[in-house]
């Protein structure tokens, strides 16, 4: 075992940390009161700087124009980026595009790559992933109701999706739809590429989430597919393999989220310690940090963050070594561990800031309300715990234990 980090990654992380501190965090006050779309010009400028620094798309394959970092390396990078809600977007490794790039890279035809993948990797267009349906548990593929029926050379798609994140402003969607209703549950659905300007792709609304509709990248759309017609060449990967591919996508996708959450932990922890040192609570200058309760929060947060980081890097290492399928236990574990760690750390940091923590004068209230979703999407805590436990229990079958 060797817990040391390579010089290369150390340098990259340092550069990113500096960039985030100098270029991105100062944009946050504006980001917190303006809508995302109006931020695009300045974010484009920052993206250009990132390209110049040759830190663009750190986790995308080199042949796609990315840096080709391993998942473990990207984990360390991603923690640095996650410190600001603008980090991943500016370095172009944000969900859902990162996942879509992976799918297109693995399963796209040459034309699909040229039409969709290349401009996506370059940051010229954005994309979305349209799977979750209204009032349907995301985790249960059997309950998918959107259909894609063949008609002539086309698929005709009908269905009602929501939580299609970042659809507003996207160039295309990857839509999950039932193409083979008679097949066994996990082989019924396919992924289909749907340009968002296709007639019948109706973005009903950006769902108001935690008090805001948002827009552009920062939004979650409700979409009605009404006789939405695309050529059959838009099938992405083999027909009926939609859920199989989704599993491929969600594995590393979960790691990506965990890595980003570690950045949120890291930022919140910094703010917490700074506040503890400088907030005076008595006329004689005693600080918050002298209070044992505050010390407990700091020690417990430190311990939980260290644990979450080690587990996430270990999971990334497992995937790098053995692939996502062989690393399911680790992936399920960090999904719920890191999400909950982040929620607790943010909560303590907010509490330590008192009334200020409730305001948008720090980033904490943003983290508090929007990152609450971490315990829900890509498999709720409860689902991951259940599937992890079942897998463990199977491994104990037939063993004699005393």
């Amino acid at each position: 075992m060797d817990f040391s980090v390579s010089k290369k990654i150390e340098t990259i992380v340092e550069m990113i940390n500096e960039f985030v501190d100098r270029e991105l965090i100062p944009l946050e006050p504006e980001f917190l009161v303006k809508d995302f779309r109006s931020m695009l010009p300045v974010l484009k400028e920052k993206q250009a700087m990132v390209k110049k620094m040759e830190l663009w798309a750190p986790n995308f394959p080199v042949e796609c124009g990315g840096m080709g970092l391993s998942l473990l390396e990207h984990g360390l990078v991603s923690e640095a980026l996650g410190r600001s809600p603008l980090g991943h977007f500016v370095f172009w490794c944000q969900a859902p595009d990162a996942g879509n790039v992976e799918i297109l890279h693995m399963f796209g035809t040459d034309e699909q790559k040229q039409r969709y993948l290349n401009p996506l990797v370059q940051g010229d267009i954005r994309s979305c992933f349209s799977m979750t349906e209204v009032d349907m548990p995301g985790s249960n593929p059997v309950m998918l109701e959107t259909t894609a029926v063949k008609d002539g050379g086309d698929y005709v798609i009908n269905g009602h999706k929501w939580y299609t994140s970042s659809a507003d402003g996207s160039d295309f969607a990857i839509v999950m739809a039932v193409t083979n209703p008679e097949a066994s549950p996990y082989l019924r659905a396919s992924m289909i590429l749907v340009p968002t300007n296709t007639p019948g792709f109706n973005l009903v609304r950006n769902i108001p989430v935690m008090g805001h509709e948002g827009n552009d990248y920062l939004s979650h759309a409700e979409i009605l597919y009404q006789s939405c017609r695309v050529p059959q060449e838009n099938l992405l990967g083999p027909e009926g393999q939609g859920f199989v591919i989704a599993q491929e996508r969600l594995g590393p996708g979960r790691i990506h989220h965990c890595m980003r959450w570690l950045g949120i932990c890291s930022r919140s922890f910094d703010l917490m310690c700074h506040r503890a040192n400088y907030r005076v609570i008595t006329p004689k200058g005693k600080t918050l940090g002298t209070q044992q309760t505050v010390q407990n929060w700091i020690a417990e947060s430190k311990a939980e963050i260290d644990a979450a980081r080690l587990m996430t890097l270990n999971a990334a290492w497992q995937i790098d070594q053995n692939g996502a399928a062989a690393s399911r236990e680790a992936i399920s574990t960090i999904k719920f561990v890191v999400a909950n760690t982040m929620n607790r750390v943010v909560d303590r940091a907010l509490q330590l800031h008192g009334g200020l923590g409730m305001t948008d004068d720090t980033i904490l209230a943003f983290f508090y309300r929007h990152e609450r979703a971490a315990r829900i999407y890509d498999g709720a805590d409860e689902v991951h715990k259940m599937s992890l436990a079942k897998r463990i229990l199977r491994s104990y079958e037939g063993r004699t234990i005393k």
Copy 2:
């Protein structure tokens, strides 16, 4: 001991529950996307209905035009009202006006009562309470920096306040300012009535809280008092007694909050149970409520809510019997117990709603983000625990325990 509730209160609570269900909850979708000011016309209509039902100002003294309920009785009423964020405002027992009414009733001169109290009780004007200062711990009176200096027959007030809730649209503020800087810490400050149209009363901004500035009643102002001049007759209560009176005000004020939070618990619990019964998670119709984790949440929420309710009613009963000063332990206890119970129950209810819980399609996300403040204002959890423990430890001094 007798845990039964009088027929009178049972009827009142029933009427209120029906009113909240029929008249207020249907307004919530609008409330969640509009600003508060634009809701005022319809809320005024509902207030008129409440007056006609003779349920106006349930906790105000009868001689002021209220119903004169005991604190215990108001506890039960308040739980019913708290089920909607519009409840207390429409029945006119909302903070900070409820507290201000109490102070004016106890300490106001006849002229003050006529000029401020009467229209306030009638709902013709609103008021605010301007105590908390920027970057100062609310709980430490010694650190108050706002001053009111006598000049001719006037007080000239200078200082910087924030979290003066509901200042926007208020007719007057009760301002806490140092009038006797040489006195002992707890006898330095006084309460002064300041009409909000006084020159030098400068509302700098409504602080953006959890992504929203809000306005009118639903806002938290930052205020600069710049040579703000009011006649000395505007002194409220004896000079130097500001903190003594504040204690009087905060005692029952904390009860009021706890009671309202129980309403939030109650509503969230209802939503949680309903969702558990009706959300289908498998094609065969299995519901969320069949999941043991969900059952655990329901059982634990029920237990915590029952505990919080009993403790709150018991504290109210103690105050009704012996006054607030003699009930400090009970008040400190419920302040942190109920706030945390509410936060946990809301969190579980949100989680049970999955992605929907994050949206503004239910009231839960509003509770989640705005009621987080409950663990902070009127004394953070940490402060109440500390002061409770110190009081308990003193009571054990000199006792022999084996």
Copy 3:
């Protein structure tokens, strides 16, 4: 609502507290190192004193020779008694005898009452309750394997029981056995009175629990019923009604446990506060109680104990008013709330005592290891939560909630 306690009970509780402090707590050091049987002579002396004080058997009906306290009243008494592990035994309201007295009082024939109930109430004999079976979940009546087969005028009992508490030294057992195997699950078993000197009643061992076999009253027996023959007149209550009666018994039985646990909370809390005040941690005399973590424990323990007490008294009041069947939700709730509260309070008290807390120089380590069972017996936490939630969810069926 009225939270006041009657003068009568206040006086009784005061007397009991004094008695426990003066007569029982001084016996504990001996109790912790000796076996229970060797304590019997001194405990008999104390019992004689209790009888003289007319505080014997506080919860037994007056016509049986008890004080006839209501369940609510007994709750307050029981908290005082529970402060020492010797309390209930010396005042003769200990499990399982208390429950057996109730069954015999309600269902016993005149002869049974004369033979078993009378000497039991007088404290002349002891009894046990033989239901739980090895490797069978206590909560599932369908899985009972002990049988009682009619043969001539007798029942012949065969089966393997364990956790028959206090069997060692008992005069008789109430045995749960299947008499009607063809009946529906809840109507298969009956209760049968079995004198412990009956041939075939084989006490295999006192099960070593937490490092000790124990003996006499303080023990948990494993019993083999091997063709154990008793006359059919020993049937207690109607045939096949064993589980129905057990429910009757377990309802108040759970309340009894909760009440006793509150006494353990109370004692542990006292020890914790005393230690906090007197344990010096610096040469300058700073005490443990100045540490904020300790203050948090005290505040949280106080809050949890207050909650547990109010809920328990409320449940007792409900049973007094409406009977146990109508109070099932309250009973299930306090079963898991109070058990967990006690475990947490004892754990904090132990931690506050540091190394001393691990020793038998205080009572805390005894509470810690033996009262851990509270979360298991009479229905594990998990079972109560599940059944509580199911009952709640049923009550929401068909309701419209928004």
Copy 4:
């Protein structure tokens, strides 16, 4: 970073796991009811087998006769040994001898090494470490009251110690005593080697811990040093450096404990999973493991154990790389994290075993009661959290954080 384990250690761990399963776990039932001294003959046999397998003293330096494993390697070994309470003793790496060996190896004179170290490493004698004093907080060196006064060529020791673990049956003690009362607090005490047969070394009692006095290795002594006289050559290390050396000793000592606790976690987790798979709870054969609450416990335990293991190995790696002084944060962190993880995992495993978990028919009740001390000794949780937080807060001083 590389999370792989060397083939060498993998093989050693496998051998140890097999040995523990085959030779030690079968001794546990006897161990749980007998006293330790009576187990010595059979344990000596097992030790001989270990020596033959060349797995003796895995963490002792090669030149002392140990295997010379790195701390990281010993961590993996120690987890395997910790699965049984007999593991470390049989492989001869048990506290407090392991720590005493380290001190003697680093600071002992040649004569001291020959007289004490050599037979200790061989397992021919045992030793104890006599620091903690009655009613004194172990963590505060200023409050040490035991003195060693020079008289002729001797030290004359007077003082009252307790929790001198394993003193019963030891050949010698390392005693911490004030030799330089006028020096600054951390330079007052020295370590002195005291053969236990020295007149004035009075073992008052083995303190009853969790219901048992224990004896021999499994005991905690109270010791009165009454004019206990040893030659000044028995000074171990430089005079006045007692606490400095103790820090050296406690750093790795804490790691050793954490490693052993991971073994307890591992064993408890195995028992939990086995029980979940095989305990039937309905007549139709449904097992405990189908219950979602049980699945939650398994998933959460797995996550917490994985985290604790990674953190412990990381801390060991840090010490291997940079020494204990540079690794203080990591050491403090794992001390409280692993102790609490273990306590929670054992608690869940016990709960999952129901009534059986309370008995001594499994090892869990032993772990439950005796390993509770883990949160207390070698620095209570509260002390480690405080010191960790203070160190972190210092590192943030002067930094600008936004």
